[in-house]
C-alpha cells in the first residue's frame, strides 16, 4: 500500500477526462455568469455571492437528486413531493423539543428511507420507475399535507439567518454537496452506478452489485431532496406542504441541460450541477434585464428542446 507513491496517477486524470463532455456547457455558464456580474456588479461581494448561492442551492440539490437516478437508468417524478416533505418536517420539529439537530436528522432519515423504499419497489419488483415515482409523489405529498395541512410551522430564526442570511453559507453547502458526491463516487457502490445504468446485464455478469447500486441511488436521491426542502424552509422561515412542486420539472430540466441522458449511463453529475447553475443564472439575468418573471419559462422550454435536439442533429450530420 505504501509503495503507492510510485504508482501511476489515476484519480485526478480520470476526473479531468470526465470534464470534456461538459466543456461547452461550462463555457456557456461562464458567459452567463460574466454577463450577470457585468449587469449586477454587486454579485462579486460577500453578500452578492450569498444571495445568489441561496437561490441556487435548492435547485442544485434537486438536480443532483434527479441526475443520480438518471445515471442509474431511472427517473423520479417525486422529487418535488420529497422537497415538500423535508420542508414540513423541518418546520414542525426544529422549533420543538427535538431541536435543530434532531429535526435535521429526522429530515435526512425521512429522505433516505422514502427514497430507498421507492428504489426497492422499482428495482426488486421490476416496476416502471415513472409510474412508481408518480404514485410516490401522491403518497409523499399526502404525508407532507398530513404533517402540516397549511403553511405554517417555524424554523428557529438563528438557523434561517445563518443559512439564508448575509453570509455565504449556502455557497459552502454547495461545495460540501459536491465534495460528498465525489466521496460517494469513490466508493465501489457509487462507481457501480455508471455500470448499472449503461449495461446492467454485462455489469451483473462482471460481479457488479447492480441492484444495491440502484437502490442506494434512490436513497441518496431522497436524502438530497429532503435536504433541499430543509433549506427552502429555512429560507422562508416556515413550512409549506406544496412548496416543492415546481422542483420536479426543474430538476429534470437541469439534468437534461447538463447532458444527462434518460437511458442511463450517459452524462455526468458535473453536467447536472452546471445545468442547474445555468438555469439559476438565466433566471437571475432575465429578471435583471426586466423581462417579466414568466419569460424564463419560455426560455427554459426552448433551451431544453434545443439541448435535446442539438446532439441529434450533429449525430445525423456526422453519420452518412
Amino acid at each position: 500500500m505504501s509503495a503507492a507513491g510510485s504508482a501511476p496517477r489515476l484519480y485526478w486524470p480520470a476526473q479531468r477526462q470526465r470534464n470534456r463532455g461538459v466543456k461547452g456547457l461550462l463555457t456557456v455558464v461562464a458567459a452567463f455568469l460574466a454577463l450577470y456580474a457585468y449587469l449586477f456588479p454587486g454579485l462579486i461581494s460577500v453578500s452578492g455571492v450569498a444571495k445568489f448561492s441561496q437561490s441556487w442551492l435548492p435547485l442544485v440539490l434537486v438536480s443532483m437528486a434527479q441526475a443520480i437516478l438518471m445515471l442509474a437508468g431511472g427517473v423520479s417524478l417525486a422529487i418535488g413531493a420529497m422537497v415538500s416533505l423535508g420542508a414540513v418536517i423541518a418546520a414542525t420539529t426544529m422549533a420543538g423539543p427535538l431541536g435543530v439537530a434532531g429535526g435535521a436528522a429526522l429530515v435526512m432519515v425521512a429522505g433516505l428511507v422514502t427514497g430507498a423504499a421507492c428504489g426497492i419497489v422499482v428495482v426488486r419488483l421490476g416496476l416502471p420507475a415513472i409510474v412508481v415515482t408518480l404514485a410516490a409523489s401522491f403518497i409523499v405529498g399526502g404525508a407532507a399535507l398530513l404533517i402540516l395541512p397549511r403553511p405554517g410551522g417555524a424554523i428557529p430564526a438563528w438557523l434561517s439567518d445563518s443559512l439564508a442570511g448575509e453570509t455565504p453559507v449556502a455557497a459552502l453547502l454547495v461545495i460540501l454537496a459536491v465534495v460528498l458526491w465525489k466521496l460517494y463516487l469513490a466508493t465501489p457502490l457509487g462507481l457501480s452506478l455508471y455500470a448499472a445504468g449503461e449495461n446492467s446485464v454485462a455489469a451483473y455478469r462482471a460481479g457488479v452489485p447492480v441492484d444495491s447500486a440502484r437502490i442506494a441511488a434512490y436513497a441518496v436521491s431522497g436524502l438530497l431532496s429532503t435536504c433541499a426542502g430543509l433549506f427552502v424552509a429555512a429560507q422562508t422561515g416556515s413550512g409549506d406542504p406544496v412548496i416543492g412542486e415546481a422542483f420536479t420539472l426543474n430538476s429534470i430540466a437541469a439534468a437534461v441541460l447538463g447532458g444527462v441522458g434518460f437511458l442511463g449511463g450517459r452524462g455526468a453529475m458535473r453536467g447536472a450541477v452546471a445545468g442547474s447553475l445555468l438555469l439559476s443564472v438565466m433566471i437571475n439575468v432575465m429578471y435583471f434585464l426586466g423581462f417579466p418573471p414568466v419569460a424564463h419559462y419560455i426560455a427554459q422550454g426552448l433551451i431544453i428542446v434545443g439541448a435535446v435536439a442539438l446532439p441529434e442533429f450533429t449525430a445525423r450530420r456526422s453519420s452518412p
Binding site: A135, A253, V256
Partner: protein, 324 residues
Amino acid sequence: MRSTETVRFPKFQRRTLLMSRPFLTVLIVAALWIAASFAKPGFGAFGHLRYLVELGAVVGLAAIGQTFVVIAGGIDLSVGAIITVSAVGVPLVSFAGDESGAFAALITLAAATVIGALNGIGVALLRAHPMIMTLAMATFLQGLLILLAGGSAVSAQSPLLEWLGSARPTGVPAGVLVWAVASTLSLIALHATPFGARVFALGANSLAATLSGVNVRSTTVAVYAISGLTAGMTGLLLLGMNGQGYVGIGDPYLLSSIAAVVLGGTSILGGSGTYAGSIPGAVLLVTITALITVVNASPGWRSILFGSLILALLLVSGRESRRR
C-alpha cells in the same frame, strides 16, 4: 367450414369479458357506488351520480389522448398545459362576427392539435424522449400563457360554451354527450381501423413495426396530435363548466389523465390496453375523490389513498410490466 372458423377464432367467451381489466374497473366503480349509497344517503341519488359522470367527462376527455399516446409507447406531460391554453385562449381568438362562439372554439382546437403535433414531431424527428419533449412543451406553454393572459382569470361567454357547461338535452349533461361521442370515435379509431393497429404495433415493438412497413413517424405525430386535440376539448369543457379560465386550471388533469389510463388497465409501457378501460378509470377517479370528500378525509389522506391505489394496481398488473 363453420367448425374450422371456430377453431381459428373461438366464439367470444363470457369469461374473457369477466376477467378483463375494463370490466373489473366497472365492477369496482359499481361496488363503490352501491356501498357509498348505503353508507351515505344522497350519494346514490341520480343527480349526484350524474354529477360524478359529468366530472368524469372532463378527466375522460383528457384521457383519450393520453390513452393513444401511452399505447403508442409514449407519455404526454403537456396535457395540463394544453388544457389551460385552450381554456384561457378562447377569449383571445373570439371576434365580433362569431355569434355562436363556434369559430373561436374551432380555432382553439386547431391550435391545441398543432401544439400536440409539435410534440409528436419532437419525439419522432428530433428523437427527444417523450417525457422531455412534452415537459419542455409544458414549460414553454406555461410561460406563454402568463405572457398572454397576464395571470388573471379570463371569462368567456358564448352560446356554445354555455351549452357545454349547462345544457342537459334529455337529461344528459352536454359534457357527457360530447364525451360519449368522442369516446365512440376513439374506440373505433383504436380498435377498428388500420391506424389503431399501427398505434398498438408502435407501442409493442417499434422496431418490428418499422420492419413491417408501418410509418412510425406519421403515426407518432398523429397520436400526439390527438392528445393535443382532446386536451383542447377538455379545456373548452372546463371553461364552459367553470365560466372562467385561469392559468393553472388544467394542472390537476395531467396526473388524473395518466392515472385514468393506468387504472383502466392500459400498460404504461405501451402496446396493450384500451380506451374502454380509461372510461371507467376516469369515473373511478372522480368517485374516489368524491368518497374521500364524503368521509371528510383531509387532502393529505386523499393524496395518500390515491397514490397507494395507483401503486396497488401497478402491483396487480406487475407481471405484465416485466415482460421486457
